[in-house]
Amino acid sequence: MTALPSSERSLFAEKLGLFLLLAPAVLWLGVLVILPHVEIAVLSFSERIAPRVYAFGFGNYLEFLGEPIYWRTFARTAFLSILVTLITLVISFPVALYIAKFASGKSKPLLFLMCLIPFWASELVRTLGWMMMLRETGVLSFLLQKAGLASGPVEMLYNDASVVLGLVYGGMLFMIVPLTNALESLETAQIEAGYDLGGSHLTVLRRIIIPHAMPGIVAGSIVVFMLTVGNFVTPVMLGGKNGLWFTEQIYSQFITRFNWPQGSAFGFMLLLLSTVIVWLGLRLTGQGFAETLRKA
């Protein structure tokens, strides 16, 4: 074995050092992220021919495309997730703006805490809380009857509105945090300058506050969209018989149909959906992915 020239040797040492430094991260990514996905990808291309006999094929994807109930649920999930993200954004924006720009130093952490408190309980408990509020024999129905606004029990559960409500509730914190971060860095003088130069509230919001908050808006929307599209508990519990969510399809393929290949294919479709929507969102708003992550 011939000795390496010293410069090459140091380069090699440097590379080795870098490799050792990155090894835990690579291992982490490889074992916990990439490997399961590769396995699912492989699984999604296998078709059952007979008991314990599987072959390569696109059948699971063709099944998805050919069966209206699957892609309708898929489209419905995508549409409702986008709707939930938009509603969350519209509700969270004034809250974040208030916390970032109008709340005094002392009340700021308190307000943040108030946003955080619901998340001390698990998602399941929060959802059950909503069920108690909305069900026919629940608190809201009772109050409406007491107030004379309803003549009989009112059922507010098990519809799309209750699903959207629960999902918006669950997503708000994840929207408020990046939005507040983004808005806090907006110099108050810029808002004042916006007014001073003749801008109306709408103009200042549209041309100064929103463009400044854009990285926060995009980051929050990505997080909320992903959480929503991948949510399982809330749509199933609040939606009842009508709350069909795509994750439920995946769950049922894996757990009640024992059809892992089909479930894997569905899982991949969901991954694809998230990726495409996030990509579209970034394109439409002209934000870079890395920059958005940095600011989030």
């Binding site: 001073d196 003749g198 801008g199 109306s200």
Partner: protein, 371 residues
Amino acid sequence: MTLVGNGVRGDFMSDSADLALLSVVKEFGAHRAVDSVTFDVAPGEFFSILGPSGCGKTTLMRMIAGFEHPTSGDIRIRGKSMLAVPANKRPVNMVFQSLALFPMMSVGENVGYGLACAGVDKIEAGQRITRILDRVGLAGFEDRPVTKLSGGQRQRVAIARCLVLEPTLVLLDEPLGALDLKLREHMKLELKQLQAAFNTTFLYITHDQSEALVMSDRVAVMNKGRFEQVGSPRELYHNPLTSFVAGFVGDANVWNGSTFGAQATGLGIKLSTGAALVGAGSGSGAVSAYLRPEAIALAAVPGELSSLPNRFAGTVSTVLFDGAASTLVIKAEGFPHLRATLPQAGPLAGIMAGAPIGFGFAPEALKIFPA
């Protein structure tokens, strides 16, 4: 065009004034930030409010801009009360301390923002933007991002952004504060020239007396929410009406003492360190005396100063060479500490520490105020 007043004038409020404040008071809880301020600014005037930080000048300016509401009093622009007019409807535009340029917009968009708000059509707005950028020396900068500009260029964009709207009044909130010394000196001149060229009324607030003195037609010195004195820079410098103005505007030797009665040439005082002097002013008992370093005449031989009633002899303790602004620190019997400007053209230019020296000053130069 320039009105030169003699102190606080509350007696006339002509509609010809671009800006008039009438007994404006602003209280934050128990704290009175602005205390009954009355003044007016004539069209085309460069008016400065000079005061230390916390004196209320920023609050005053924010009330004029419309970001704060006075507790009492009235603010009028061209005779029209502004109290019910929101900030975005006032014919007033502001250059912020931080400039507050919109970083996500280009130079042209920054300047065009106000025009768009006012509903000026695109073609006309474009022409006006081009014209104003040309006049502030930024021709062809329309598409540059503001983040890529130098400090001075950003300054000009901030001013152009206001001037393009042809406001009655431009407010400037210490806009030179963030610049380095050289650029600040340069921008002082440029601002003054711009103001003259556009013939727009400027209201400038600063804590830097040099900025106020160099640029302004008139200056108001503000302290603890009140106007101490309003006048031309020359007046403020030579005839301060209060102890605060004498101390805040320009450089001065400040001594404590007590009066011992009127003399033929002025008021006699005895410094707490022992020297007996004659100065101009009023009061009896404890007083403060202010003497500008450049008002001190120096001579190698005290006899040369025989025309001055205040004549003393001492020794040079230190020479602080700073070109035209060089000073001597003089040690003399009865004086605590004395600084005198050393003319670089005279026979004393080469004087060294330890040399004997004579000094004196006219009684009018020593301003005496009750302590």
